[in-house]
Symmetry: D2
Subunit: 351 residues, 4 copies
Amino acid sequence: MSRIPVGILGATGAVGQRFISLLVDHPWFVITDLLASERSAGKLYGEAVTWILDTPLPEHIAEMSVKLVKPGQAEARVLFSALPAEQALEVEPAFAAAGHFLFSNASAYRMAEDVPLVITEVNPEHLELVRVQQQRRGWEGFIVCNANCTATHLVGALHPLQLAFGLDKVFVATFQAASGAGYPGVPSLDLIDNIVPHNYGEEQKVETEPLKIMGTYANGSIKPAEFVISAHCHRAPVVDGHFEAVSVGLQREATLDDVIEAFQSYRRLPQELGLPSAPDPAVVVVKGVNRPQPRLDRMTGRGMATVVGRIRPCNLLDWRFALLGHNTIRGAAGGSVLNAEFMVHQGYIPS
Amino acid sequence: MSRIPVGILGATGAVGQRFISLLVDHPWFVITDLLASERSAGKLYGEAVTWILDTPLPEHIAEMSVKLVKPGQAEARVLFSALPAEQALEVEPAFAAAGHFLFSNASAYRMAEDVPLVITEVNPEHLELVRVQQQRRGWEGFIVCNANCTATHLVGALHPLQLAFGLDKVFVATFQAASGAGYPGVPSLDLIDNIVPHNYGEEQKVETEPLKIMGTYANGSIKPAEFVISAHCHRAPVVDGHFEAVSVGLQREATLDDVIEAFQSYRRLPQELGLPSAPDPAVVVVKGVNRPQPRLDRMTGRGMATVVGRIRPCNLLDWRFALLGHNTIRGAAGGSVLNAEFMVHQGYIPS
Amino acid sequence: MSRIPVGILGATGAVGQRFISLLVDHPWFVITDLLASERSAGKLYGEAVTWILDTPLPEHIAEMSVKLVKPGQAEARVLFSALPAEQALEVEPAFAAAGHFLFSNASAYRMAEDVPLVITEVNPEHLELVRVQQQRRGWEGFIVCNANCTATHLVGALHPLQLAFGLDKVFVATFQAASGAGYPGVPSLDLIDNIVPHNYGEEQKVETEPLKIMGTYANGSIKPAEFVISAHCHRAPVVDGHFEAVSVGLQREATLDDVIEAFQSYRRLPQELGLPSAPDPAVVVVKGVNRPQPRLDRMTGRGMATVVGRIRPCNLLDWRFALLGHNTIRGAAGGSVLNAEFMVHQGYIPS
Amino acid sequence: MSRIPVGILGATGAVGQRFISLLVDHPWFVITDLLASERSAGKLYGEAVTWILDTPLPEHIAEMSVKLVKPGQAEARVLFSALPAEQALEVEPAFAAAGHFLFSNASAYRMAEDVPLVITEVNPEHLELVRVQQQRRGWEGFIVCNANCTATHLVGALHPLQLAFGLDKVFVATFQAASGAGYPGVPSLDLIDNIVPHNYGEEQKVETEPLKIMGTYANGSIKPAEFVISAHCHRAPVVDGHFEAVSVGLQREATLDDVIEAFQSYRRLPQELGLPSAPDPAVVVVKGVNRPQPRLDRMTGRGMATVVGRIRPCNLLDWRFALLGHNTIRGAAGGSVLNAEFMVHQGYIPS
């Protein structure tokens, strides 16, 4: 097949840049549209952007003109949105109404009843919800969301346990990377010789998004999963890679070997279909009391895997472990790209 | 009274330096002996030490001769020990047998049945255990331990809650400062753009020491407290100041105001007696969703207080909050100094 | 004398906070006015500010109302300005015209012909220029500037050498702390695992301000010093404390002992008069090939001294050394406070 | 040709790991021997090493047995040495005497009269010196050194200027990455909120090695280049990537365009021959006042290029600029690998 044209909304920001880096050599997609706010529109991308990735800005991307984020500007039907939540709230429906297929990293519509919040390995069947969405809203296009970066990797590790043993209770304390706040984002004075507690909105996302994602879809609606999550969220002096310390209470008993086996045997549709961005394995178990670590483990599976380690009994619940995942790859842009790949494969998107 | 001579075992290390900084202008004590291992013994302190504190090394201390760590070398009867655990295991009893009063930051004897593990505000009555210790071991001196740095501040925040409501369950995830590992300690490659999980031994200390400290003393022995702690411990790129995210289950119901009141009204013997190193208040409640923070809050109460913030309901247990405390002041050297002040005041030590 | 009322322009920013911390317990001054932009005006200071210092915000300051930065709002005649350059350009003359004595940390008027740019130890005689300024501009008040933070400490180390040997050429490469850019200032993504070159405007300040400061005042004007400076400026992941690597070519030959002696014997009017904020000594020579260091040495002389070390011959010029100084204390707020103390002492300001 | 067997001396250290990562998929070489000190010898590599790179340890390498560093242990004739200087002093000649071809990153023999110190682009003709070395010492093997990491990239930027304009004077101030000190290396307490001046030995290397490398080879000996370098060296909180601020005085006049052209047209034997590890271009000129930066630019040319930016006139010499290069790739292991590739190509090493 010839490559499918795609555009990026909010292309100059931190997540927008990550979308570019993941899509620029993509076997199925070709970047045709870069859209951003008035400050950047009309400029060459190379002039508009403060490129913060450690891979070089591709030259042909640098020479593309940035268009204004509004419907009618984008030629591509498939759009990846890296817009801030407030802007997404207004702009994304306009694009969907205009027939675009939106894969959004914004939080604006994640919890909307008729918007699928999808981690491709976990709940691809929720994507069927776009039919309800289209019907109810009268759209030809649709909005599909990926989850909050911290919630994504938490679910990445919890889902194998849910499948194998059922989940009851989850404690999680996070150490989140600076890139999660974009650029300029967190002031350096906050993260030199320091740790900064996150706002409670982040904790709420981590406590609610997983329940929707791990919920069941039937008759056009999603019934959230029923376990309980308590999240303590913090920002740490790390460029990329969210670290999470987790304790879990399970519904059925499990030995250490059972838990390890649940992680290691976890293999889902994206892996079976061999989608271009699918990590295989999706969950990697590392050895060593001092692993995972952000700097050493974040690029596992090209940044698309969730890394789990330090699995040991918990004094209060059943098991505890640490997990780590790349926040702007799997936790943001990469999550949406994998969703898009799956929907292309399933025929939701004409290729 | 004239000032009481004191010595420091392991004087050149990170905690040894902190002992010096806390004792050099102390109103009750005067430093007469600096003891260290063979590598340093015989040298001037200023030549033997790599001074890592941001306050200058006092000149008269720099010109003191370092003696070898063995009994007979120290003139002072009161000794503060900053020895590594393995060395303390062997050396501290020898000093106690020789009649010295040891206030030890080492972990070697913290959990020994007849050694009091004391946070002065929490369990000063446990100090009575030194009589048992002296009798059983035939010592004229004694060993009194302060707790692990992380455990110290955890107990600092838990004790007001235990007194007011009873404790049932505690979940804690820590972000510990580099200085807790001494110098050279943690390699910089581990803490630039990174977080490193701690070894499980640290977690075990945090899970067991508080139960001894908050236990009850009767008939010459300590009955540990019966609540359960689950600890996840990690090292963060911070110089000083341990941050802990805590969820607690209480025995009796408490409103947010009750919890705040419990912290704010916490005032104990060291505060009432006005001991020189006692912080007043011992627990400080800070406002703001993003507080406490290590860099901004660690010096609260000259590094002797425990700072609490972000008090909010927990989805799984009753309440959650964040706490912060200085790990080498209150969490190490300062804890021992306050214990010594109390024992002087109570007449255990002739002044 | 009763304490002289003073106000702070730009009181909520990083340097404004430092002014507060230096003035709150000042023996000669009392803070009566806190002025800031429209965003903060009308609020209590404690609500308007994001306090970033590691000493607590004094409660009575927190409860002061913030006034709008415009003449007529401030009761105090003496004002310390921590305004951004663009705002200072417009606002400071208005205050001076209204009779206020401005001690400004802003760069706006530093190089103006009739504005003294003063480091109190170096060129207090330049302060006489305020008479020219008042006459020419028809002001009852005046503007006195302190220098750029990096230039301040460079001059702090160069002036003893200029006095003793004459200066010819100066190379300097800087590693500047994040606090120099204020708050939020430098994004954390720029300073985790990274170094960022500074803009050329900073280099120009470092190359020109010292020549004015070390110039000669005669007949109402300043003749700049004639040596040449080449500056390479960079931002480093440090909270406070500018580090500078310096090579100097002298006009007269000097041995290592001569150079050390020049630094150590440097004692000037602020030291002789015992002004409250004067460090004594003003220049501190540290030993050790690996000193000075920002974290260990920045608080030398309560942040008002310049620390010099690593004095050794240069292959190209005569001598090279490293220097370090606190950028927001001596390099900003503290420099202005010392200037004000001197002018009070000299009778420029009625007390 | 079939791949040439190679071994690594000091295989478990930071540079040893980098050698492995560069050689594991090398088109011309195959790793057959991993040698290390007694502590590691006899273990599987995966058990002996604390792997600190962010790319995974290849499994077949993890399962190789580590041999003791002494002649007779290595099957491969070509050896890469990542030994510490003291150990290299003794061990490397023994291997060379036993017929091995040593490509050494150690400083032990860099300045020895009959040992070529080579940056492949700069002075490949110096390799002829191995014939003198073999004859004089009676060896069948030889030792070839690559330069100090900081000197390597300094020369990388200076050589184009030397060729085009001649060099007279060089001032350089460095900000060197933590990985340059190996693992555990620099304590984290030295590099959190801090900068640490380097020891003078490092500065001496940076001032002398370039003169040997850029010297002329004739009649079996090297005449050093005659320009003068003054180096100020410092350690910064960066994982990888040395940053250097440079001022240069040239022998012949050059405009900005001339200087840029000199860098951009620099193309040497490794580029012309298309050697597997040769970066092309070898020198990359980046735009932007705030570039180069370690985190963003160190992987340019897969870590083998030298990145130059901020080219501007110098007040004292002719031009100044900033440069950046990867210290453990081009500045250590990669430099030796490229030398080996060239010697294979030239027939020094039978393939």
